[in-house]
């Protein structure tokens, strides 16, 4: 039987291997609609991108419409699923989670 011994140096090594977790940095999310698609950007206050963040898109009835992941530049985009108020959630792990509401009026600007 193989047993794994968790050692202090092992934990430290693990911590070092975790992708750049900006502890103490708030995760931010911005989304906008352009030419039939919705573009999502995840970033830290200093401008570094939130890569590999889980994106979930809900409608106003809290129905999950789609999900995806941000790329190394913190970007994700998808076709407009509904011309309704959309709630976009970015989860960067370790409690770094934020929500952005994209209003119906911004998805289809009234001109």
């Amino acid at each position: 039987m193989i047993t794994y011994r968790i050692t202090v140096p092992g934990i430290l090594l693990l911590l070092l291997l975790l992708p750049g977790l900006a502890v103490g940095h708030k995760v931010n999310l911005f989304a906008y609609a352009e030419a039939g698609r919705i573009y999502v950007e995840g970033y830290f206050p200093d401008g570094r991108s939130v890569s590999n963040g889980k994106v979930k898109v809900f409608d106003s009835a809290d129905q999950l419409l789609l999900e995806g992941k941000t790329d190394p530049d913190g970007l994700f985009n998808f076709p407009i699923p509904k011309t309704k108020d959309l709630s976009i959630v970015l989860d960067a792990g370790m409690g770094h989670k934020t929500t952005f509401t994209l209003k119906k009026s911004e998805i289809k600007p009234e001109r």
Binding site: K26, N28, L29, F30, Y32, E41, Y43, P45, D46, G47
Partner: protein
């Protein structure tokens, strides 16, 4: 005589320690995902502590610096009369379309101040953060004179220290004199403080040899910082060359820790 009395009285008022301040006051200094993304900006020329507004002509230039690019916003300015004094101020509606810092700036046309026998040009700046991306506030705009913040100029608690550097033609201005005034009535509860006497109206500090200054704001609301210099150019008026006072003005907002 009836007409003369107020005039004479006015002339007899000892040099009032009220400083002029060019101002850009936005409706918000931090715009979050749940906030309205349209800002209303008031561009005006005021005595902030005493609550006086002076007549302001259409600014020569009004714009915004965002993401390293300057955008002209002259067309957005609409004149408005201040109800209490019937003086012209300028209002701009601006939609924040992208995250990041927006530094708004104004260059007014020279204001003739007979009491001081000179023209006044105050280059005003204010920074608004949009959607948590804190980038751009420390960039100079490139004005003839300006204050470049060394402290992030938004999200400030009352009592925080604000540091900045005074530039004249892009270079630090050693030992610049900075006047600081509180925009009376701009606290969260909107209650003005009684106008204080004498030196309390304007605080005065001097920058160090690198043009760097510091000031801790003791009350919530808007605070104006104004560094004055004399321009190396003059304006011809009635056959005489008049001096021009140029001011680098910066506005920051503080809130009380709940």
């Amino acid at each position: 005589m009836r007409l003369l009395t107020p005039l004479v009285l006015f002339l007899l008022i000892p040099t009032m320690a009220s400083a002029h301040f060019g101002a850009i006051i936005p409706s918000d200094d931090m715009v979050g995902p749940e906030d309205a993304r349209t800002l209303t900006l008031e561009v005006k020329f005021i005595h902030p502590m005493e609550g006086h507004t002076m007549e302001m002509a259409r600014p020569k230039r009004f714009g915004v610096l965002h993401n390293g690019r300057k955008k002209d916003l002259d067309d957005t300015l609409v004149s408005s009369k201040r109800s209490e004094e019937e003086r012209t101020v300028w209002i701009s509606e601006f939609k924040l379309r992208r995250p990041g810092d927006y530094t708004f700036f104004v260059e007014p046309v020279p204001y003739w101040e007979p009491a001081e026998d000179l023209f006044i040009v105050h280059y005003g700046k204010v920074c608004v953060n949009a959607l948590g991306l804190e980038q751009g506030w420390d960039e100079p705009v490139g004005l003839e004179t300006e204050i470049v913040p060394l402290t992030r100029p938004y999200g400030l608690w009352t009592g925080n220290l604000f540091s900045g550097q005074v530039l004249l033609k892009g270079k630090p201005l050693p030992f610049a004199e900075i006047e600081i005034e509180y925009l009376n009535g701009s606290s969260a509860d909107g209650q003005p403080i009684p106008t204080p006497d004498g030196p309390l109206v304007s605080q005065v500090i001097k920058a160090d040899s690198n043009g760097v200054f510091h000031y801790a704001m003791p009350k919530s609301g808007w605070w104006g910082f104004s560094a004055l210099s004399e321009a190396d150019w003059t304006i011809h008026r009635n056959g005489v060359d008049k001096h021009v006072e140029i001011g680098a003005v910066y506005w920051v907002h503080t809130i009380d820790i709940p």
